[in-house]
Amino acid sequence: MRLPDTPLPYLLLLLVFSAAGLVLADDDDGDDGPRSARALPQVSHPQWKQECSSCHMLYPPALLPERSWRAMMGGLDAHFGENAQLDAATRDNITAFLVANSADHTAARRARMLARSIPADEIPLRISTTRYFRRKHDEVSTEVFKRASVGSAANCVACHSGAEKGAFSEETVRIPR
């Protein structure tokens, strides 16, 4: 077989492959920006923002299943050792929001995997005790979590700057010294 003399067929091949590449490319190059398929959906509720981030970062509701949020909101006077009580109306509004956007009511893959990693008879209050979390952080030493710049495994934003926006991709992790 003789190879073509003109560059045209080669240019055509190049064009076809480039086009195919563009068509098949996805936005999910590891960047957990708001457009990324891996980021949790960004949700909002004014009372939730107001009342649930005075003392800690704003944890995306998709990080815990419905039953966990219900348990947590039903025991705010003993919220991880502190009194975080709310008036009944505010508490109920926030609970409804959390439940509607909980891990078992969210389509995003990360949320579904997290929900599935929790046995049905468990009601975790700490995200960091879920099997999904432990699996994802199995290469992070306990020393890292104890660093002054991090504090504890509850302080997601220390290493995941986009945590409050649902962005947890490994590529965007920066562990502080």
Partner: protein, 129 residues
């Protein structure tokens, strides 16, 4: 002309903030006829108590030794300063003030704060520069 308008607005806002705190204090004064003291408030602020888990805790534990500076919660979140001199929004809304007294007195003292304690505490914070 514009500068004096800006100054006037700033003065009015500051005056309004002060007026709010004053009326909050007046509310507590109804149940604390002896009057309030910044010195007592300072002692109250730094006084340590054993909390439910046995930890020695005071207001200063989370709000910092100096109320004009930031504090830190047990979950590592920064708390903006308590002293109005550093944070003019503080102590101007009764509902907010009461919400935090209800929670934090329960945590630190294992009981509600008295009107006397609340008034002394606010008087102390107002005195901090």
């Amino acid at each position: 002309m514009r500068r004096s308008v800006v100054m006037l607005v700033a003065l009015l806002l500051a005056g309004q903030a002060l007026a709010s705190t004053t009326s909050i204090l007046a509310g507590y004064a109804r149940d604390a006829p002896g009057g309030f003291s910044a010195a007592r408030g300072r002692t109250f602020y730094t006084q340590e108590h054993r909390d439910k888990e046995g930890r020695a805790t005071s207001c200063a534990t989370c709000h910092g030794a100096d109320p004009a500076g930031p504090g830190r919660t047990r979950a590592n979140k920064v708390i903006t300063p308590l002293a109005p001199s550093a944070n003019p929004q503080r102590l101007t809304d009764l509902a907010t003030v009461e919400k935090w007294f209800t929670r934090n007195c329960q945590d630190v003292l294992q009981r509600p704060c008295t009107a006397q304690e609340k008034g002394d505490f606010i008087t102390y914070l107002q005195s901090v520069r």
